[in-house]
């Protein structure tokens, strides 16, 4: 028989390492008492190793084109695996204090990261679906991880039911696309779809509905605030970081590599979704009292900004998406490092009013959070400004002036609620102080803050890497 040589699987090495490592750690966890610490440590090391492996692998395809490694995949995988590792580091203290320490948490994060890698590298619709399900199924479980809390189980169930619905729509779209083109591989679809056709567009719409759900873009964003609020805080931090990156990666890859023949059709959908997300993210966040809900709306808005880059459909636009996602990752994990340290002796707090007067009770934390909030608002010279600059630049070069103008206006509205938090921290009467921040959260916050502050000094490496990665898609 035509057996596959083992060496032909090398492009999938990071995912194989992650999956095999997860199974080995599962055995460790199952057969050793109280091994959660050990498993967590092993999982973090595996994720870091996978990130390095992913960065080092040369271009190539495996499994008959179902699995692609190119510059784009390398870039996104480093972000996704790195984001997962940081989220896991940030969860250590929380899980220990809240007595939620179970070794399965790290295993599920590892398997979810495996799914992200498969998703980012997917070269056809079946690989896409399997990667997406592997990623999401683990996410549903970790959302409900605090199973004795009603809100956490509600978050998990809500996410699961809506996620299943979106998977159904995605599959319906896939089957329509397969029906109208006769193939599942992206390259084949691109060849067969050169002339378009209403049936193909119909399938595309359903496919996009599934993607929009995963990146939490309007009109498929409804789950985001409830899930972020209900899930344990480190889980929300993880949700905001890594899965968004993987989902955005497959959104870009599928659109650019499978549907280059029908750009006007998908462009108008992406433009609509981007505008709706930016506007809703900006306006709905204003009334929020809970900081986790606020971060949820903020992430909806940011996905809208990232989609502005995709809407242009050019290499510059995709470069903008890549830059945006990297900077978004740094801003979000930093902000969640602060949210995870909002702990008083009586327990975690998550109201925005609890941050009042933080500049006097904990000046360093207040300074870094203010820095990140300015960056999230997109105020120069912080990194968030450059993120927005590159996506808008891509949109303007593609002639989408209206989109860029609406985006800038939405970011002005969005700046209001970010700056409101800064005002509460610096000018309101101090509330009771928080307990001291654990060391690893300090480190994450410090690195994220300094990255945002000093990005403008030497932005070239990231911009160049993103540019090269974006070119590999075209």
């Amino acid at each position: 028989m035509n057996a596959i040589p083992l060496s032909s699987m090398t492009p999938a090495l990071p995912e194989i390492v992650l999956a095999a490592g997860a199974m080995a750690l599962l055995m460790v966890g199952a057969f050793r008492e109280r091994s959660a610490q050990l498993v967590n440590l092993g999982a973090i090391m595996l994720l870091v190793a996978a990130a390095f492996l992913a960065a080092a692998l040369p271009d190539g395809t495996a499994f008959g084109g179902s699995f692609t490694v190119d510059g784009f995949a390398r870039f996104m995988k480093v972000l996704a695996f790195g984001g997962s590792a940081v989220a896991l580091v940030m969860s250590l203290d929380y899980l220990a204090v809240e007595k939620q320490q179970k070794f399965e948490f790290a295993i599920l994060i590892l398997l979810s990261a495996t799914g992200m890698g498969m998703l980012i590298s997917a070269g056809d619709l079946i690989a896409l679906y399997l990667g997406l399900e592997l990623m999401s199924l683990s996410l549903y479980v970790v959302a409900a991880f605090n199973r004795d809390s009603v809100r956490s189980t509600e978050a998990g169930l809500k996410y699961f039911v809506l996620g299943a619905l979106s998977s159904g729509m995605l599959l319906y779209g896939c089957s329509l696309i397969y029906g109208f083109t006769g193939t599942v591989s992206f390259a084949g679809i691109a060849k067969a779809s050169a002339n378009g056709g209403i049936g193909l567009t119909f399938g595309l719409v359903f496919l996009f509905a599934g993607f929009c759900f995963k990146v939490s873009a309007v009109p498929f964003h409804m789950w985001t605030p409830d899930v972020y609020e209900g899930a344990p805080t480190p889980v929300s931090a993880f949700f905001a970081a890594a899965p968004k990156i993987a989902a955005m990666a497959i959104f870009a890859r599928a659109t650019i590599s499978a549907f280059p023949g029908i750009v006007p059709q998908w462009q108008q959908i992406v433009v609509f979704v981007a505008i709706a997300s930016m506007v809703l993210g900006a306006f709905a966040a204003i009334g929020q009292r809970n900081i986790k809900r606020l971060m949820a709306y903020s992430s909806i808005g940011h996905m809208g900004f990232a989609l502005v880059g995709l809407a242009s459909g050019t290499a510059e636009g995709v470069q903008g998406v890549l830059v945006y996602m990297s900077i978004y990752l740094a801003m979000t994990v930093g902000a969640f490092a602060v949210i995870l340290s909002m702990r008083r002796p009586e327990g975690m707090v998550e109201q925005i009013s609890d941050l009042a007067g933080l500049s006097r009770t904990n000046p360093a934390m207040a300074f870094f959070l203010a820095l990140l909030l300015f960056s999230l608002a997109g105020i120069p010279p912080l990194a968030g400004f450059f993120a927005k600059y590159y996506v808008f630049l891509g949109a303007i070069k593609a002639g989408l002036y209206g989109l860029a103008v609406i985006g800038v206006l939405a970011s002005v509205v969005g700046a209001y609620y970010y700056l409101l938090i800064v005002k509460i921290m610096y000018f309101d009467e101090p509330a009771k102080g928080f307990q001291p921040m654990p060391g690893e959260l300090k480190a994450v916050l410090g690195v994220a803050g300094l990255f945002n502050l000093l990005f403008f000094v030497y932005p070239a490496p990231l911009i160049a890497a993103a540019g090269a990665a974006a070119k590999s898609l075209f």
């Binding site: 057996a3 008959g64 398997l111 399997l130 549903y140 479980v141 109208f180 006769g182 067969a192």
Partner: protein, 204 residues
């Protein structure tokens, strides 16, 4: 030619009718039974297409295992369907509107049905000749499709871990038989010698 067509319409018709009854039946147990009928008819359709292996797997796995499991769950859960249906009429207008729009869109799609010019070149796998179903599937499952196969296996592993994480509780204070402990008992731990003085009993 007429007999295959006749059987096709028989299987397809019963399958759709049974599928409709799954959602229309008042009693959930009846729903599951209709579901089994739908599966059996779908298996019949597979046989007519020459996919005997899939047909048998459908019967063995779906009817034999999944549907029976469903039946157990439905019988064990005490679901009050009358209560669930209460909101039905309230949402009917909105639902009907969405359904109508959806139907119109579907008609548009079906109306525009043309097979793309690129399609004949992209069709993936020709039907192999000279081998039976099982062999044909076996030849590609671990070679051409090994990636999908393994990925699906990992998805199932996650489902298993998830189910255990969310439901398994180690109760404390439950008395269980521990054979190792029973065997390891020694004379010192098992019996106590009490020196009872005559005429006094064990006392209180």
């Amino acid at each position: 030619m007429i007999i295959p067509a006749l059987f096709f319409y028989l299987f397809a018709g019963v399958c759709i009718a049974a599928a409709f009854m799954v959602i229309a039946a008042k009693n959930p147990v009846h729903s599951v039974l209709y579901l089994i009928l739908a599966f059996v008819n779908a298996a019949g359709l597979f046989v007519m297409m020459g996919a005997e292996f899939l047909a048998m797997i459908l019967i063995v796995v779906y009817v034999g295992a999944v549907a029976v499991l469903f039946l157990f769950v439905v019988m064990m859960l005490d679901v009050d369907f009358a209560e669930l249906r209460q909101g039905f009429l309230q949402y009917l207008p909105v639902g009907a509107l969405v359904g109508a729009i959806f139907l119109a869109e579907l008609l548009l799609v079906v109306g525009a049905w043309v097979i793309g010019p690129g399609v004949p070149q992209t069709i993936a796998a020709p039907i192999p000749t000279g081998v039976n179903n099982t062999e044909a599937i076996g030849r590609v499952l671990y070679t051409q499709y090994v990636y999908y196969f393994q990925a699906a296996a990992v998805v199932l592993l996650v489902a298993m871990i998830g189910a255990i994480v969310l439901t398994l509780r180690h109760k404390t204070g439950v008395k269980r038989q521990d054979i190792g402990e029973q065997v390891a008992r020694t004379k010192a731990t098992a019996i106590e010698i009490v020196n009872v003085k005559p005429g006094q009993g064990l006392g209180a």
